[in-house]
Amino acid sequence: MHKAQAPMLSVRNLEAWYGESHILHGVGIDVREGEVVTLLGRNGAGKTTTIKSIMGMVNKRSGSVSYEGQEIISWPSNKIARAGIAICPEERGIFSSLNVQENLLLPPQVRAGGLSVDEIYTLFPNLKERMYSQGTKLSGGEQQMLAIARILRTGARLLLLDEPTEGLAPVIIQQIAVTIKRLKEAGFTILLVEQNFRFAATVADRFYVMESGRVIDEIENTNLESNLTKLNEYLGV
């Protein structure tokens, strides 16, 4: 039923470079409104580079990225943000010179319809307690929560989450899974990068598998069982 609507985000022939090194070689992915789509792949496959290229954070890039019908490949990242895309980076990017509340309030509102600060604190009660602590004094899990929380306020509809479970304890990973499901219910569209396949399986509608800067496979969550052997091979598990 999803297939009928035009995708919210459509990436075609995306190429990206860091200086002279050619990292992405024609990546193509679609994300439809309301979906949670996961990019899987081994270390160095180009998942982060894909996300950053969509966000406009890789200087040298070509191909096509179309968001809600607009071609955004040549836009600067601040303009892409204003169009309604927000990133939660792999290294989390919590600012040490800002306290928790300032970190939370930092990203400017780009559209109406984001969560209110109260709603965010309900979703992440830990953050409220630590409102005035220095951002980087939080635990790894709390910092991850904060990195997700701060992009929910802005009115962005498409969230790019880069390995939100990396280096976190199972309990926290579970909490993040619950959060992502709630965000999906709230109508957010999510492009998720994950190496933790078991986690991704609990939240994602669809998976793309990346290798050496290319998408080598696409799998629906409903067909997951029959593809497990193949997936394990891709990911080298």
Partner: protein
């Protein structure tokens, strides 16, 4: 007359006052340098020249257009700040991805050019600028005579410095600034035009220098060399306070002004070198400066 350690209180407080005045200028100038360094990663060597231009703009406003001190205090920072914006857009922007050193060399060259232009046109000797009539005279505090204009310089400079500090530490705009100092790419990816913010920050730092220049005009004379005379000391202040620390530059600026004044009372021979001695000691003990973070 009261004497402390054989020194009259008159002399002591007199030198303290001079120290405070100098400190006020050190603080305003090193604050601008700190703001610029934090955001642009550039050691702004033409800061002294821009301070000089701030004073000259006030002088030109008065002598060419008949616009007095109070308007100059507003107009000169705007004009000089706009010049800063042009410098940033024309030159500094192109150096953003390069090493520190390029910015330092470029601004050093600019300082030489700017000072040369003014020396060519106005000569090397100072031009007088009168204290505004509202601030002439002084107040007898009992233990010393306080000229009103000097009191005004200290008050306004404190106000400007603390206002800047407050804006950076406690406002939304300030949180953008602090965040962009840490990770400009991410702040930009949140939808902030960081490039414009960098340009405006430079303009603001320059405007701070221009305010200092206008304040200085009636105290020191307006001269093409006024900037290079003070800027060497200001760089020492920045090194002592810790490159890029906002509050550090303010506290160190005033503190070192006072230290210099006191040295003049107790050991006049060292008064012109005391700041550099302190700098050497601080560099030995805390290479990142008194308020600097990390190494």
């Amino acid at each position: 007359m009261i004497e402390i350690f054989g020194i009259s209180s008159q002399a002591l407080f007199g030198q303290l006052l001079i120290g405070l005045i100098n400190g006020a200028f050190y603080a305003m100038l090193s604050l601008g340098l700190a703001v610029i360094f934090g955001m642009l990663n550039i050691i702004n060597f033409c800061h002294g020249a821009l301070y000089m231009i701030g004073a000259f703009v006030a002088w030109m406003l008065l002598n060419w257009l008949g616009i007095g001190y109070w308007w100059a205090l507003l107009i000169s920072p705007i004009i000089t700040g706009a010049l800063g914006v042009v410098i940033e857009r024309l030159f500094l922007q192109r150096l953003r991805d390069l090493d520190h050193l390029y910015g330092l060399l470029l601004t050093f060259g600019l300082a030489l050019i700017l000072e040369g232009v003014f020396r060519q046109n106005f000569g090397a000797s100072g031009l007088p600028y009168r204290i505004p009539p509202e601030l002439t005279g002084g107040t007898n505090l009992g233990f010393m005579f306080l000229p009103n204009y000097r009191a005004w310089v200290i008050v306004l400079s404190l106000f400007v410095c603390l206002g800047t500090w407050f804006a950076i530490e406690y406002t939304r705009l300030g949180s953008y600034l602090r965040a962009a100092t840490e990770n400009p790419a991410l702040v930009q990816a949140f939808g902030v035009n960081v490039s414009r913010m960098i340009t405006l920050t430079y303009g603001f730092g320059v405007a701070l220098a221009a305010i200092a220049g206008v304040l200085a005009a009636p105290i020191y004379q307006v001269s093409p060399l006024m900037g290079s005379n003070i800027i060497i000391v200001v760089f020492a202040v920045v090194v002592i306070g810790g490159m890029g620390s906002i509050l550090g530059s303010i506290v160190t600026g005033f503190g070192l002004g006072i230290a210099e004044g006191l040295t003049k009372v107790f050991y006049p021979e060292a008064s012109s070198t005391v700041i550099f001695v302190i700098m050497a000691i601080v560099l030995l003990i805390r290479p990142s400066g008194l308020f600097g973070k990390g190494a």
